[in-house]
């Protein structure tokens, strides 16, 4: 095994102290002279025609500069209007509760808020289509004009799949659909000794980032330059989209992705174009900061989903068939990738016979976007519950039943694409050996509460996108790394380790910075578990390039062969002759000083990624269930994940714990609740419940390393998989404890009591 000096070591995050001390600069911290504050008036109806908007009273309020409605905005290509991003403010019709209808610009936030109440909008209410299954019926009213030419650029940042989605030609609420089949499912079910058929529901839920959506836009009319400070996972994506929408050349757009207070797929592109347009209209900088209510009502949560699932297994544990219908509730604009869900639902196990239909359906709810592994937790809840139920019914060990059928390299996904090397079995093996899993059935129930242990796996294919990086030698011999990727998970810390490793210098000699779209080399969106996987490779390549440049110069100075050089302790030397060396500081002098003989050292790394490296995880939940109140208490949690190679084990463990915690939230609490008119009932963090520190048990992490082909040092994406199996593991643990199955996530006390027949 190769030994490394910097990668593979647990390093605390370089952005950590600034975050803890409050020194980090977030978009909300940006204050510009003359800046106006924007508040959005949101629709009180899920579906209505806008009859008229009277802004005169609001405009009369002291401190109000402008009140903007759709009539004031630039018009976009009508085909693009199927894309949420192009609907800055509702024009003739509101399609979801909370959709922005007007924007107020005021000298301060309170004045802007006050003016919202003074805008008079007359609505003509239309029937709201809220249930995704009913919306699919032939005779269902339409939630909205059918969508055409869906722009999928945003969701491609999260996962790369090459399957054509169909769109129906008849007016319908179905935005897209796909079907996968293999073998003969009827025959498969005939061969099975156990067939389980259930419907699984998982709620629309929110990404729950701490920092709300925040953007400041400044348009300089004289130079025609637009500058945007914004909380985004993908500053280049924001730049490209704004350029397309506003028909501005990218030379005139500077997007500065500030420190990000969490994104989880929900912070890509939402308020930036509106802020830009408003700044242009007002001739003054404009700041938009969402409140928590704005975020819950009107950002882009994760789709709710209904999975009708039928699976079969033989007595010996061999799975025979899967038949499924997946329906994602996308809300009022497309945004739920139906295909990925189908690929994962039928893609963890080697089903010889398979038939999966998948749909993305439009309703009059807030439109959805990505979440950590978008669409994956919903389908995993279904398939991982089924694996447990079938094993239980046949008296098989649920882990061994999974092991027997698990996919590995070369096995085909439902899309017929073969897996590259993956670590699903290795994850299962690690769970099999864990103390928590081995303690099954050995613990006593106590004080009227039943204990149970359950497990589930999850996998994520990951995204692919080109990336680039620079590595430079500073004047004092230290190293500067510049990337364009917004650091949402500690990636800059890992880039520091990679550069230090390749250049043979201590970590203290390397600084990493994320530039903005005007200064940084291109990087894809920080999404799809691909930042380290792609940008990390670019940094590695750039560092290697810089090293080679250093070797060449040093070799010339030392009259040696560049191939004989090595970098040790901050100097380049001839291998085996420590006395023949040049320190980095000296090399900096002769490449940057006045009249220097050599050009500056600037390493270039530019890569394209072609091979996905799917990441798997297996997780174990231990619960205690109060059968009288339905309350579930988590006692222990174990997570095993394949990181390929953990460049920074501390960051990887952090990603695992964070994702597991979100999975726990999905399993037990998180749910956007709409009333029968489509109003969101829980638009604050009191009733949209995310787990608190007291609700989450100790999470034991274990990293396994099955190297990927393309990732730096064999690393694979680790950001997303950890969120996926939580709800299923909890559902399995609950059945283990109390013998009943809750088929809806989250498993609230009320749903548990209903399953128990107590209410």
């Amino acid at each position: 095994m190769t030994t490394y000096s910097s990668v593979g070591k647990p390093i605390t995050r370089i952005d950590g102290s600034n975050k803890v001390t409050g020194d980090s600069l977030y978009a909300g911290d940006v204050q510009l002279p003359g800046m106006l504050h924007c508040k959005l008036l949101r629709s009180p109806h899920a579906h209505a025609r806008i009859v008229s908007i009277d802004t005169s009273n609001a405009l009369a309020l002291e401190g109000i500069e402008r009140v903007i409605t759709a009539a004031d905005l630039p018009t976009f290509n009508p085909k693009r209007m199927s894309n949420r991003a192009y609907n800055l403010l509702a024009a003739d019709e509101v399609l979801f509760y909370g959709q922005p209808v007007a924007a107020v610009l005021a000298v301060d936030v309170s004045t802007a808020e006050e003016a919202l109440d003074l805008i008079n909008v007359v609505y003509d209410e239309l029937p709201a289509v809220l249930d995704s299954l009913a919306a699919m019926e032939e005779d269902s009213p339409l939630a909205r004009a059918p969508v055409t030419e869906i722009d999928r650029s945003e969701s491609k940042g999260h996962v790369s799949v090459d399957v054509k989605e169909e769109q129906s030609d008849k007016p319908s609420n179905i935005a897209s659909q796909a079907k996968f089949s293999r073998g003969d499912v009827d025959q498969g079910f005939d061969e099975a000794d156990c067939v389980v058929e259930r419907t699984w529901r998982s709620a629309m839920m929110h990404q729950g980032y701490i920092e709300p959506h925040s953007t400041v836009a400044d348009f300089n009319a004289a130079s025609g330059e637009l500058t945007i400070w914004t909380a985004t996972q993908g500053q280049f994506f924001v730049r490209d989209q704004i350029s397309n929408m506003l028909r501005m050349p990218e030379t005139k757009i500077r997007v500065i992705g500030t420190e990000l207070g969490g994104g989880f797929g929900g912070k890509i592109f939402l308020t930036q174009t509106l802020a830009a347009v408003l700044a242009k209209l007002a001739g003054r900088p404009v700041k938009i900061i969402f409140t928590r209510k704005d975020d819950l009502q009107g950002a882009t949560p994760s789709a709710g989903c209904v999975v009708d699932l039928k699976t079969g297994m033989k007595k010996d544990g061999a799975i025979t068939a899967i038949k499924a219908k997946i329906v994602y509730d996308a809300g009022a604009f497309p945004g739920a990738s139906a295909v990925v869900g189908a690929i994962l639902l039928g893609g963890y196990y080697r089903f010889p016979n398979l038939e999966i239909e998948t749909y993305e359906v439009l309703t009059n709810k807030v439109s959805v976007g990505a979440i950590r592994a978008p669409g994956a937790h919903n389908v995993t809840f279904a398939i991982e519950s089924h694996m447990d139920m079938m094993a239980r019914e046949l008296g098989l060990d649920p882990l061994e039943a999974r092991m027997q059928n698990a996919v590995s390299e070369g096995d085909k996904m439902p899309s017929d694409v073969p897996y590259t090397r993956i670590g699903m079995k290795e994850c299962l093996e690690a769970v099999r050996d864990s103390d928590l899993w081995k303690s099954r059935g050995k613990k006593q129930n106590g004080n009227g509460k039943a204990r149970g242990i359950g497990m589930a796996v999850g996998g994520w294919l990951g995204g692919l996108q080109p990336a680039s990086a620079h590595v430079e030698l500073n004047g004092d011999g230290t190293i500067k790394v510049v990337v364009g990727a917004n650091d949402i998970s500690g990636t800059n810390t890992s880039f520091m380790q990679i550069a230090a490793e390749e250049l043979g210098v201590p970590l203290e000699m390397v600084s990493v910075g994320t530039g903005d779209t005007k200064t940084a080399p291109f990087a894809g969106m920080s999404a799809g578990s691909k930042t380290l996987f792609t940008v990390g490779r670019a940094v590695k390549e750039a560092a290697e390039d810089a090293r080679q440049q250093l070797f060449n110069i040093a070799a010339e100075r030392l009259e040696a062969n560049p191939d004989d050089m090595e970098s040790v302790d901050g100097e380049i030397r001839v291998k085996g002759s420590p006395d023949k060396s040049i320190p980095f500081r000296r090399l900096a002098g002769i490449t940057t000083g006045f009249g220097a003989l050599y050009p500056p050292i600037i390493g270039r790394g530019a890569i394209t990624a072609r091979k996905q490296a799917p990441g798997f995880t297996a997780q174990v939940a231990e619960v205690e269930v109060d059968e009288e109140t339905g309350q579930v208490t988590l006692l222990n949690w174990g997570i095993v994940q394949d990181a390929g190679f953990a460049i920074n084990p501390l960051s990887v463990a952090g990603q695992m714990q964070g994702g597991a915690t979100q999975g726990i939230g999905i399993g037990l609490w998180e749910e956007m609740i709409f009333d029968d008119k489509g109003h969101l009932m829980n638009d604050g963090l009191l009733d949209y419940r995310m787990p608190t520190a007291l609700d989450v048990p100790n999470i034991e992490t274990q990293i396994v390393e099955v190297p990927s082909e393309e990732g730096p040092y064999g690393a694979r994406g680790v950001g997303e998989p950890s969120i996926i199996p939580g709800a299923a593991a909890i559902s399995n643990a609950i059945e283990d404890a109390i013998g009943v199955r809750v088929t809806e996530a989250p498993a609230t006390p009320e749903r548990i009591l209903r399953a128990l027949g107590k209410i």
């Binding site: 309170s110 004045t111 808020e113 006050e114 409140t291 209510k293 009288e628 109140t629 309350q631 037990l668 609490w669 609740i673 009932m681 829980n682 604050g684 009191l686 009733d687 419940r689 787990p691 608190t692 007291l694 609700d695 609230t748 006390p749 009320e750 009591l753 107590k758 209410i759």
Partner: protein, 289 residues
């Protein structure tokens, strides 16, 4: 939040005068943990806010065996939770105050604000009611006393007039051999609001139950006493069967609604389960005291 006028009187008289002068839209401010949330997010836009911060004498706790317990309206949840007398003699109240919000919330939140805010889920309301607490009120017409259980008219509404200030609460000294408990059901462990809450006090008389109080929260428009259930306990010897019967009576007394925190059926069910559990705990505590 909309703009508003802010006053910080230094005496109760001044506060009452301000309330009288400016009329109903004026809001009193104590810890602000309800008021500011309502003003920022709940669509409440009072033209005037009168802070009680500078008014002295509202933040004391005193106990005297013959007089009982007296708590100023501005006493914080944190101070109630930490008070030894309250923990020992009025355990349910310490439990109710101790479960409010987080440490930060409890440092700001006052008992007066909790009661005046009149949420059916207010965590100090059932404990105050089971100790027969009396609210002390001052207004332009003078001082008056109202039992806490009679203070509430509905969610967010009390019998306090627009120019009245809640100054504190008096709680009689409970008989010897008293045990009390307050429990609430919330989906999360902390930072949550009761879907159902139950306060119970049992005062034993020899081996039998002398006096019993059961107060339910979040299952009706106001907190309610389950009086039939209380009557069924009085003079009886505690037993599992008795408690089961009493829990059933408490369940029948509740009239919860369905909302985002749970359905009516769910809440009904919980009232029974939780009353039974609270009776067990209260009995155990009464026997220990």
């Amino acid at each position: 939040m909309h703009r508003f006028e802010y006053h910080a009187p230094t005496s109760l008289d001044e506060a009452v005068a301000l309330l009288k002068e400016h009329g109903d839209g004026t809001k009193l401010l104590a810890g602000g943990t309800d008021l500011l949330v309502h003003m920022k997010e709940g669509g409440l836009h009072p033209p005037r806010v009168v802070s009680l911060h500078a008014v002295a004498g509202l933040d004391g706790i005193s106990f005297d065996k013959s007089e009982g317990l007296s708590i100023g309206s501005a006493v914080s949840m944190g101070d109630i939770e930490a008070n030894d007398t309250i923990r020992q003699r009025y355990t349910a109240l310490a439990e109710g105050a101790g479960i409010v919000g987080s440490v930060q919330t409890r440092s700001m939140a006052t008992i007066g604000g909790n009661i005046a805010n009149a949420a059916p889920s207010a965590d100090t309301a059932p404990p105050l009611a089971v100790f027969d607490a009396i609210a002390q009120i001052i207004g332009s017409g003078g001082a008056r006393e109202v039992p806490v259980i009679d203070l509430f008219e509905g969610p967010g509404s009390t019998v306090l007039a627009g120019d009245e200030v809640l100054t504190g609460f008096t709680l009689p000294t409970p008989p010897a051999n008293t045990g009390s408990v307050y429990q609430r059901h919330t989906p999360r462990k902390i930072m949550d609001i009761a879907a159902v809450s139950v306060g119970v006090r049992l005062s034993l008389d020899g081996g039998n139950i002398g006096e019993a109080r059961i107060c339910l929260g979040a299952v009706a428009a106001t907190i309610i006493r389950a009086t039939e259930a209380e009557d069924a306990l009085a003079g009886q010897t505690p037993s599992t069967e008795l408690f089961a019967k009493v829990a059933e009576l408490a369940r029948a007394a509740s009239s919860p609604i369905s909302d985002v925190r749970g359905s009516a059926e769910f809440r009904h069910h919980l009232v029974g389960v939780m009353t039974k559990r609270c009776l067990d705990v209260a009995l155990e505590r009464a026997q220990e005291n």
